[in-house]
């Protein structure tokens, strides 16, 4: 069973409205760990990160969505939603993927935060990561490329 982004969003909504503080879900090829409340270390980027990101974003309007398959054999992983891009589960933790990493469609590559809701983003494609386009802690738009992957 593969969970879609909508499923994840729905799960997060249910958790948010529930009494639960913490939840782990594991299905085949997918695991989700959510914690809520004051102790959500990975949910809160430092304020300085956020404002720095905003300033940078102001100077450089994000590029448009690329064609799904570029001529050079690279494919983009587009952001499934607008939100704040996090490369790792929590500040200081090892990023989900680095350049050179092999990904499968269900490999989690990053987290997009929308109003403290952490949305895990699967690669959606197989291949080797050749570029990390998104900047950690920065606002990404819907459809904005997060990574580029060379398909096998």
């Amino acid at each position: 069973m593969a969970l879609s982004h909508d499923d994840v969003r729905e799960i997060l909504r249910i958790i948010d409205e529930s009494e639960l503080d913490e939840l782990s879900i594991e299905t085949e090829g997918f695991s989700l760990h959510v914690r809520k409340g004051g102790g959500v270390a990975r949910a809160e980027p430092p304020q300085s990160v956020r404002s720095a990101a905003a300033t940078r974003a102001d100077r450089e309007p994000p590029p448009g969505s690329p064609p799904p398959q570029a001529d050079d054999g690279l494919i983009a992983i587009p952001s499934p939603m607008l939100g704040t891009f996090y490369r790792a589960e929590s500040p200081g933790a090892t990023p989900f993927v680095e350049v050179g990493a092999e990904v499968e469609p269900d490999t989690i590559v990053c987290i997009i935060e929308v109003m403290k809701m952490m949305n895990s983003v699967p690669a959606g494609v197989s291949g080797t990561v050749t570029e990390v386009c998104g900047e950690n802690g920065q606002l990404v738009e819907y459809g904005e490329p997060l990574f580029r992957v060379r398909q096998p």
Partner: protein, 446 residues
């Protein structure tokens, strides 16, 4: 206030961008993917893509809207009309994060959104409401309707703007439909409360523009007549209301101000009324309060000479109104029509498509509000408004003539439009004589 987030599209997003420019505010448009290259997006300082085309995944996501506003360094959100403009959730969420929400206080929004509560406040303010009230059972509904007299309307407390209304002719229909009305209300508005009101069969729709500031000052900016409607959706609007006895006009405006004071209203709003055209004295009744800029605001701007969107922004930023009731002077007459992408021959079905040709003439006294240019795509996800044409003349006849003349030269290819219907209405002797009611257009089309 320095930088305003605009999570909206089309002509109203562009209108807000322009008001921001005039006030030297920066602005960021939050657009859906198909709207990212729209006029508003291009004229703003920046655009961010909120999500894909369907509004439920973009313009209606209050979490994404607030995240986008914060992430782009905005300190205010102007929601426009439609979408989240009357969402207390968005207003609350924005304010929680330190953003200015350009609209009334959340409490006033909540009250206006609850049509039964608004009705009760109107009564408290001494504003006439239609005979009726809340019903919770078939028996109660039957008893109330019998007392009021058929036909009646069954309305959803969470509805408004023409949605969630059922017309009931007799007791048989009431018995058959009241349960359905409640379950439909629950599904559409997450609120199954319904109420019964007397149906005014020969009705005119008149609404008063009000504005209030945080010091408690409240003024009206005259009224608009929006009687020409199809299925509760306005087609032609004008200001001031024609064929209205002066004492009635005065009482209407006073009622709107009294209601605004009663509920502690701030910022721009509209009090809607229905006038019984069959009564000798133009008897009027309160319908609802709208907590947003309205589609038809340009007719009020034309006759008052005031920029209502700029006024919204200034009030939200904490400025006083800056003018008193006596300073509000009305000049001439303004008429607006809504040019829609719809196929009149197929039940006014929306007709999305690409505008291979889109040309609206320029005329003295004519203002056109549109977010579209030739080559633009009218996406299937949203309402079918292509453009609003607003004529301002010395008097009503003059304004109508400017509009008719302009409509004759409107050229649209690629999508079907309701242009012929607009021309038909504006030239019709009944409309010319201001002798129309809210059901007139549908009868005239048949």
């Amino acid at each position: 206030m320095k930088r305003v987030f605009i999570p909206n599209r089309g002509e109203i997003a562009l209108r807000i961008v322009q008001a921001c420019r005039d006030l030297q505010l920066e602005c960021v448009v939050g657009a859906s993917e198909p709207d990212r290259d729209g006029l508003a997006a291009r004229q703003a300082d920046r655009v961010v893509v909120l999500g894909p085309g369907p509004a439920g995944q973009s313009y209606l996501r209050d979490d994404i809207v607030v995240q986008a506003a914060l992430g782009t360094g905005c300190d205010a959100i102007h929601p426009g009309y439609g979408f989240l403009s009357e969402s207390t959730r968005l207003a609350e969420r924005a304010r929680e994060h330190g953003l200015v929400f350009v609209g009334p206080p959340t409490e006033a929004m909540a009250l206006a959104g609850d049509k039964l509560a608004a009705r009760a406040e109107a009564q408290r303010a001494g504003v006439p409401v239609l005979p009726g009230g809340k019903v919770t059972s078939v028996e109660e509904a039957r008893e109330l309707a019998a007392r009021i007299g058929y036909p009646v309307l069954v309305k959803a407390a969470g509805g408004g703007g023409g949605r969630g209304i059922k017309r009931i002719r007799d007791e048989g229909e009431l018995t058959a439909l009241i349960g359905l009305a409640r379950s439909e209300a629950a599904a559409a508005f997450a609120d199954d409360r319904v109420y019964v009101e007397r149906l005014i069969e020969s009705a005119r729709h008149v609404e008063v523009q009000i504005a209030g500031d945080r010091n408690g000052a409240v003024v009206h900016l005259g009224e608009r007549d929006c009687t020409v409607q199809r299925r509760y959706q306005k087609v032609i609007e004008e200001a001031p209301a024609p064929a209205l006895a002066e004492p009635t006009r005065r009482r209407l405006r006073e009622a709107a101000v009294a209601l605004a004071r009663q509920i502690g209203y701030q910022n721009l709003g509209t009090a809607e009324f229905v006038i019984d055209a069959d009564s000798d004295s133009d008897e009027f009744f309160f319908l609802e309060v709208n907590c947003r800029i309205q589609v038809e605001h340009p007719v009020t701007e034309a006759v008052t000479g005031r920029d209502l969107v700029a006024l919204q922004l200034r009030i939200a930023d904490g400025s006083p109104l800056g003018f008193a009731q006596d300073d509000v002077a009305l000049a001439g007459h303004a008429v607006e029509c809504r040019l829609n992408a719809e196929d009149v021959t197929r039940g006014f079905m929306p007709t999305p498509g690409t505008l291979s040709l889109f040309s609206v003439p320029e005329r003295p006294g004519l203002r056109t509000d549109t977010g579209l240019q030739p080559g633009a795509v009218v996406p299937p996800f949203y309402d079918s408004l292509l453009a609003k044409l607003i004529a301002h003349g010395d008097d009503r006849e003059h304004a109508i003539d400017i509009l008719l003349d302009a409509l004759e030269d409107v050229d649209v290819e690629g999508v079907e439009t309701n242009r012929a219907v607009l021309i038909g209405v504006l030239g019709h002797p009944d409309f010319r004589a201001a002798a129309v009611t809210t059901d007139w257009l549908e009868r005239a089309i048949r």
